[in-house]
C-alpha cells in the first residue's frame, strides 16, 4: 500500500524553457500540419508572440525533470505496475517559444479500489510563466496495479 504520508507532498519545482526547436519537434512527432505550430510568421499572424506550445506540451516539464517518476519510485511503485490513468489541463493563457514555465505539483489524493488491487495517486499542478502569471493547471492520476 502507498503510504498516506505522501498526501500533500510537494514535488520539486520543474522549470522548462520552451524552445522553438523542441516545440517544432513535438508538433512533427504528433503529425501536426497547422503552420501556427511550425512557422513563427504563421504563429504571429494568428496573434501569438512566437510558436505556441500545443495543448498537451506542458506535460513535458515534469517528464524532463523526472520528478513524478522519482516520486512514484519513492512510493514503491515499480515501472511495470505503473499506468497513467487520467490527465487534465485547464488553460489560463498561452505558453509560447521563449517562455519559461515553472510547474508546482502536489499530491492531492491517494485512494484504492478493488480491495487494494488498484491504487491511485492524484497530482495537481500549477504552471506559471516567467512573469509569474498562471498558464495552466494540470491534474494527473497515476495508477498502480498490484
Amino acid at each position: 500500500m502507498i503510504d498516506k504520508k505522501w498526501l500533500g507532498y510537494e514535488l520539486p519545482v520543474s522549470t522548462l524553457l520552451l524552445e522553438r526547436g523542441r516545440l517544432r519537434a513535438f508538433a512533427r512527432a504528433i503529425g501536426e500540419t497547422d503552420h501556427v505550430y511550425l512557422d513563427v510568421e504563421a504563429a504571429r499572424a494568428a496573434g501569438y508572440p512566437d510558436l505556441p506550445a500545443p495543448p498537451t506540451f506542458l506535460f513535458a516539464a515534469e517528464q524532463d525533470s523526472g520528478t513524478q517518476m522519482a516520486m512514484a519510485g519513492a512510493m514503491g511503485i515499480s515501472l511495470d505496475k505503473l499506468l497513467h490513468g487520467e490527465q487534465g489541463f485547464t488553460y489560463h493563457r498561452p505558453a509560447c517559444a521563449g517562455d519559461t514555465v515553472a510547474v508546482h505539483t502536489r499530491v492531492s489524493e491517494i485512494y484504492d479500489r478493488k480491495g487494494g488491487a488498484l491504487e491511485f495517486v492524484v497530482t495537481l499542478s500549477e504552471v506559471r510563466n516567467q512573469h509569474d502569471e498562471p498558464v495552466a493547471d494540470l491534474r494527473g492520476v497515476l495508477v498502480c496495479r498490484h
Binding site: 523542441r22 512533427r28 512527432a29 504528433i30 501556427v36 500545443p54 506540451f57 506535460f59 513535458a60 490527465q87
Partner: protein, 139 residues
C-alpha cells in the same frame, strides 16, 4: 481549414474526425524525445519483454496530443479552456487511431459561453483508447 464559427455550433454537431497512420516505432521514438517521456517501455523491446509485455506500446500522452490536434483543427487553441481525459487501453504498434468529437452541451463557465465537447479515440477494431471532455469558448 474552415474558419471556426461560434454561431454555427450546436449540440450534436460532430467535429471533423482525425485519422492517424498506424503507430510505428519511429513515431514512438520521436514522440518520446519531443515529449520527454523516455520510459523505455515505449522505446525498447528488450525492456518491454523483461516486463512481460509482448512489445513496446504507445505513450498515453501521444494519444492525448492527437485529441489536442482534433480540437485545434476545429477551433483555434486560444479558445480551448479545458481538456480532461481517461486512458482506457494501451495503444499498440499497428493500431490506426481515429479521434472523434461531438458537441454535447452549451454552457456558461465563469460567465463565458462554452461548448462541451466529448472526445474519444479508438483503433481500427473499434477498441476505445481514450475518452474525455473538452471545453471550447464560443465567446
Amino acid at each position: 481549414m474552415t474558419p471556426f464559427d461560434p454561431a454555427g455550433i450546436a449540440v450534436g454537431k460532430p467535429l471533423p474526425a482525425l485519422a492517424l497512420e498506424p503507430v510505428n516505432r519511429t513515431v514512438l521514438a520521436l514522440f518520446g524525445c519531443a515529449s520527454g517521456d523516455l520510459n523505455p517501455v515505449h522505446l525498447d523491446l528488450d525492456v518491454a519483454r523483461r516486463l512481460g509485455l509482448p512489445d513496446v506500446f504507445a505513450q498515453g500522452m501521444l494519444g492525448m496530443a492527437w485529441l489536442g490536434r482534433l480540437l485545434t483543427n476545429w477551433a483555434p487553441q486560444s479558445r480551448l479552456r479545458r481538456i480532461d481525459v481517461r486512458f482506457q487501453g494501451l495503444t499498440h504498434l499497428g493500431n490506426a487511431i481515429t479521434c472523434r468529437g461531438e458537441v454535447v452541451g452549451i454552457c456558461d463557465v465563469d460567465g463565458e459561453r462554452c461548448a462541451r465537447v466529448q472526445v474519444s479515440s479508438a483503433n481500427q477494431f473499434g477498441q476505445l483508447k481514450i475518452v474525455g471532455e473538452a471545453l471550447v469558448s464560443l465567446a
